[in-house]
């Protein structure tokens, strides 16, 4: 019996011929925490008297969730991360450098790696052909110290993407469509492997959007085989030497196979309060918006900002709607500045904030008021997610978000193309 991509990568790291369902101890290549989860990891390592890291260059502490810090307690958490980095030599990604998942794909994630992070959206890195998965603070603490984690090898669901998207429909619509179809627990514990002729046309940025949201279907990871796009991306990132071919075997065992016809997908919106509560844009009633947020590890990349800026160019946001833009990393911020995208956003009436998670986590930079509605390009819309359980979060692509900011209500972005 052949192997899926996940089975191959975990076999290599556990020096065992593994199949789905096996419990193994696996070596890891990269381990990371962020400022919401890292302080607990460090506390646990102190308790175990194991304040050490298995590999300085690939052990990373990101300050991105509450960054810059809005409260003294969080400032002290940040201090704890800095002190640990100083003591162990681990890499510290400071305030303003960007969101962990974006920074990982910029400088660390490579094909065949096992990447573990104390953040559920660690699955983002799977788009480069890595096995990347989110865990808790204690798992990652042990990963830091020992360079390994315990894993149950997941079974795999294959998603065959066919054909091409229509104009005005984007990667975010693909993944919202899939989650709407299979449900928020539709792939619980599984690896979601994406394949088919439809992936050839997807840029790496679009693939990151898709794997980022695998966890929103409950999956352990989202993963793409590597191809010329992966190679080109790694070359641009000065990591061409890290390229290798990663595909599943033709006789690999898939627990389920789904075929997705890309041309059938419309701009899609997730309604409050679950990601799988999706509707096609053509089927929704009027939803007036108090705020629109463009950014995050899902959709805060340069391509996303270009799409949003192309719609907002020469236009103004609706007077009754706040528009917040947060580039996902410093590099994206710099390039958006160079390309004039930030000026476009400013002219349209946006507030631009420093790279990080922004208002997505509900700590700062755009907490909702009671009864307020936001359309966001982020990945989840749970009750209370953006800091107020009496707020309402809708999810969409950057194009839909930009068009909706102009009208102050959720609208079809194709009216602006």
């Amino acid at each position: 019996m052949g192997k899926t991509i996940s089975e191959k990568i975990i076999s290599e790291h556990s020096e065992k011929d593994v199949k789905s369902g096996d419990f193994v101890i696996s070596k890891i290549d990269v381990a990371m925490v962020q400022d919401g989860t890292g302080p607990l990891s460090i506390d646990e390592l102190k308790k175990l008297d194991m304040e050490q890291v298995f590999n300085k260059d690939n052990t990373i502490l990101f300050i991105d969730h509450a960054s810059p810090s809005p409260k003294k307690e969080l400032s002290n958490d940040h201090k704890k991360l800095r002190e640990f980095a100083q003591k162990t030599g681990a890499y510290l990604s400071e305030v303003g450098e960007g969101i962990c998942h974006q920074r990982l794909v910029e400088d660390w994630a490579s094909p065949g790696y096992i990447i573990v992070g104390a953040d559920s959206h660690t699955c983002t890195s799977g788009a480069v052909g890595a096995f990347a998965t989110g865990m808790g603070s204690t798992d990652i603490a042990l990963g830091f110290a020992l360079g390994k984690v315990w894993l149950k090898v997941p079974g795999t669901y294959k998603f065959i993407l066919k054909g091409e998207l229509k104009e005005g429909v984007y990667a975010k619509d693909i993944i919202l469509h899939i989650i709407g179809k299979i449900g928020a627990d539709g792939a619980t514990y599984k690896a979601m492997e994406f394949d088919g002729d439809g992936i050839e046309n997807l840029s790496m940025s679009e693939r990151f959007t898709i794997t980022n949201m695998a966890i929103e279907a409950g999956a352990k990871t989202g993963i793409f085989p590597t191809d010329e796009k992966t190679k080109g991306y790694l070359k641009k990132r000065n990591r061409e030497d890290k390229f290798r071919e990663i595909t599943s075997d033709s006789d690999a065992n898939y627990e389920k196979v789904f075929e997705i016809d890309l041309k059938e997908i419309e701009p899609t919106i997730s309604f409050p309060h679950t990601v799988d509560n999706t509707r096609k844009i053509s089927e929704i009633d009027e939803v007036k918006l108090d705020q629109v947020f463009i950014g995050t590890c899902t959709n805060g990349r340069l391509e996303d900002l270009r799409i949003a800026a192309s719609i907002l160019e020469g236009r103004k946001k609706n007077q009754g709607t706040r528009l917040i833009v947060v580039p996902a990393s410093k590099e994206i911020y710099k390039n958006a500045l160079k390309e004039g995208l930030l000026e476009t956003f400013l002219e349209a009436g946006a507030a631009i904030q420093s790279p990080g998670c922004g208002p997505c986590v509900g700590v700062h930079q755009g907490v909702l008021g009671d009864g307020e509605k936001v359309l966001s390009t982020q990945n989840r819309n749970f009750k209370g997610r953006m800091g107020n359980p009496n707020g309402f979060i809708y999810l969409s692509s950057p194009a839909t978000a930009a068009a909706s900011a102009i009208e102050g209500k959720i609208v079809d972005p194709r009216n602006y193309l």
Binding site: T138, L142, F382
Partner: protein
Amino acid sequence: MNLKGRARKFGDNISTDHIAPGRYFHLRSNLSKLAEHVLEDADPDFANNVEKGDIIVAGRNFGLGSSREHAPRIIKISGVSCILAKSFARIFYRNSFNISLPLLATDTDKIEEGDELKINLEKGTIEDLTKDIKLKSTPIPQFMLKLIQIGGIEEFVKKYGDLKVI
């Protein structure tokens, strides 16, 4: 290992944002303080009326969302001894076993708020003493049962000096 406690009912899709809301992000390094808000966005009174030994009984996909281990930790700190649900989100599932909070997947429809429950973890059996019914659960994998018996992954590493599958 036998557990006995009172059922506390919740619905489907209780997320880590319901359990440990983001607006209390700054309390994450103060878990006992954060525990004063446990499950606040699903039941604002829960933290006030939870009793030691209580058993959370929920619907589908309990614990979905973020990787925050603070979620199962504050549930445990609040005195809850076990969680029963139709299904669990995977990061929450492994986090709970890592900190020695047992979870059992079972059909929870027949159990009502306040029912007296008796659970055997090794056998995976659940008795609703109030209703006089017995329920079966999906067996806990051997490795994870070991984590519960030892007292969590840290105790495991202390005992064996390393991570290994036993």
